[in-house]
């Protein structure tokens, strides 16, 4: 059996509705966070897990890390059921929440690490070897005596990563680790994750909104929407299948210019410019650009980068959600 095995996973939450006039109690509504989710992840895989907010990504991570109990479905990680055998399970995993710091705020991070050593009962020798290694790769040597509160966001994220990997987990969950980081920090973080994955075969499940994270790291992508798995495969296939709409924004010197384009291209005014959406399969990009140029004096032309929201929106359309 594969390392992570998830089958027909269901999780729903009850939320209280606004109280209706005249009724004493607030009505309860059930929101399904995960519906019939199944997947397998093998040891050493680096999987990207994407989807819009509220799709159920964090819920999946929380179930896999033993924090929450699902209604039904089968989950095993390395042969163990996470929530049934929480302590044994979490000994072997590491979790990093992008927006929630797990280290202690006011003390030097080295003190935090020493406490983690006690919490995870890491033997002295292993602890020192691992700490030396991690501080070197994460460039934390200078920061060990600095309290977390005095660190920049990028430094904090590195410190968190070090803390969550001290006990050499076999499996690492990262919940939006690059959120709010600058370009340099993002790059070094990705490099580190790759290193950890390649050196120790650590299985990594990464949730993110950042397409670049996925492109740089993950050989496999899972897309989640409304609690369902929409896609599971590699990034190229994903792009081929769904990244069918391109957007170009053009600004003309003369704002009244409206280029004539084939019917398959939709145009809409936005501020001073015009937004064109087209699918390269029907109208090649070169053709669109040629027509735009021919229409008048272009002041500015921007090809909007492909982004994840676009993909998800396209996927929703296709799957009729």
């Amino acid at each position: 059996m594969s390392f992570i095995h998830v089958e027909k996973l269901h999780k729903s939450f009850t939320v209280l509705e606004k109280r209706r006039k005249g009724s004493l109690f607030r009505e309860r509504k059930t929101v399904e966070a995960l519906r019939d989710l199944s997947f397998e992840i093998g040891r050493g895989e680096l999987v990207g897990y994407i989807g819009p907010n509220g799709a159920g990504k964090s819920t999946t991570v929380k179930i896999l890390s033993g924090i929450m109990t699902p209604e039904s479905g089968e989950v095993t990680v390395g042969g163990r059921i996470p929530w049934a055998d929480r302590r044994e399970h979490v000994r072997r995993i590491g979790v990093v929440f992008g927006q929630r710091m797990q280290l202690w705020w006011d003390v030097p991070i080295l003190d935090s690490y020493l406490l983690l050593k006690d919490i995870y009962r890491i033997p002295d020798e292993k602890y020192h070897a691992r700490l030396t290694e991690l501080t070197e790769v994460l460039k934390l040597e200078e920061l060990l005596r600095t309290p977390l509160r005095l660190m920049s966001l990028g430094q904090r994220m590195r410190a968190e990563l070090c803390g969550s990997l001290l006990h050499r987990p076999e499996l690492l969950f990262l919940d939006e680790p690059t959120i709010g980081l600058d370009a340099v920090s993002k790059l070094s973080l990705r490099e580190f994750l790759k290193w950890e994955n390649e050196t120790y075969g650590t299985t990594i499940l990464l949730t993110t909104h950042d397409m670049e994270d996925i492109a740089a790291l993950c050989s496999r992508v899972m897309v989640l929407g409304h609690g369902r798995k929409l896609f599971d495969g590699n990034l190229e296939t994903l792009l081929e299948r769904y990244d069918t709409v391109r957007t170009v924004k053009a600004c003309y010197e003369n704002p009244s210019v409206m280029p004539a384009l084939p019917a398959s291209v939709t145009a809409s005014r936005e501020g001073e410019g015009i937004l064109f959406s087209y699918s390269p399969g029907e109208t090649p990009t070169a053709e669109v650009l040629r027509l735009l140029q021919a229409a008048g004096d272009l002041r500015e032309l921007t090809i909007e980068p492909q982004n994840i929201d676009h993909l998800i929106a396209a996927m929703y359309r296709e799957m009729d959600l």
């Binding site: 033993g66 929440f97 992008g98 929630r100 202690w104 406490l115 919490i119 309290p147």
Partner: protein
């Protein structure tokens, strides 16, 4: 043993982090002294006006007061993890961090905070105990000392348990600070005075439901040689066990409630 080591290690680290802001720490410790000193002043005024309450003379009243102060603030000092931010930890999803670490939930919550500022409150309590002992002319013996320690320790456990009820309610997404505070802080205020001066409903509340009278007042009254409710001496040794018993019940409820913990989104 490993758990004790972890607790001590955590306490050490947290103390260190509190002392990162020495001025603030000093001022707050002073503020605590003023607060608890004020409570004791109120007691002194009561004694000055009435001389005695029921069968209890001034010294006895000091003793009851001291017993409650020491118990309550020892709990607040060393059990701050539970008496302080526990409900917030649950509401904010901070419990996630604890759940992904291979230790018991309660152990880690207990290890998450310490409140050394309460040291002045404890000092006030000890002073009251000494004054009470002196004024009432308590003849100390080994068994009386044992009773005192037993009462205080089981009182601490009881208070921890009562604070945990708030955490349980939080898991079921009920915000109910006031209700629980009536038992915890209310219990502290009410049970600074011996239970038998109160009307029956209050006596039932603090003898049966939140048994402060059982854990603190019975031992105290025996030490003063004036057994509460006229109960025999051996009862004073047994009754404090109601503290741990209540804690155990609430602890089981907590473990059951944890299955409904739903965390928060992020």
């Amino acid at each position: 043993m490993n758990t004790a080591k972890l607790y001590l290690h955590s306490m050490g680290m947290l103390m260190k982090s509190q002392l990162q802001y020495p001025v603030s720490f000093f001022l707050q410790t002073l503020a605590q002294l003023v607060m608890e000193g004020g409570e004791m002043l109120a007691l002194i005024l009561v004694i000055d006006r009435f001389d005695r309450l029921g069968q209890w003379a001034a010294g006895d009243l000091f003793f009851f007061f001291g017993m409650m102060s020491v118990t309550f603030y020892l709990t607040e000092c060393f059990g701050r993890g539970i008496t302080g931010n526990f409900p917030y930890l649950i509401r904010s999803g901070g419990l996630d961090t604890i759940l992904v670490r291979p230790r018991g939930v309660l152990t880690q919550v207990l290890c998450s905070a310490v409140d050394p500022r309460r040291i002045t409150c404890i000092a006030v309590g000890v002073t009251a105990l000494l004054i009470g002992s002196r004024l009432s002319g308590i003849r100390w013996a080994f068994l009386k000392g044992l009773l005192l320690v037993e009462g205080i320790l089981s009182g601490c456990v009881l208070i921890l348990g009562l604070f945990m009820t708030e955490a349980i309610l939080c898991i079921h997404s009920v915000k109910s600070v006031e209700f629980v505070n009536a038992l915890t802080y209310g219990g502290r205020s009410a049970c600074q005075y011996p239970m038998d001066i109160y009307p029956r409903p209050l006596r039932v509340l603090f003898t049966v439901i939140a048994p402060f009278a059982m854990t603190l007042h019975l031992p105290a009254s025996c030490i003063l040689d004036k057994p509460l409710y006229g109960w025999p001496v051996w009862a004073a040794f047994v009754s404090p066990l109601s503290g741990p018993a209540v804690f155990l019940i609430i602890y089981v409820c907590f473990q059951k409630a944890m299955r409904f913990y739903r965390s928060t989104g992020n």
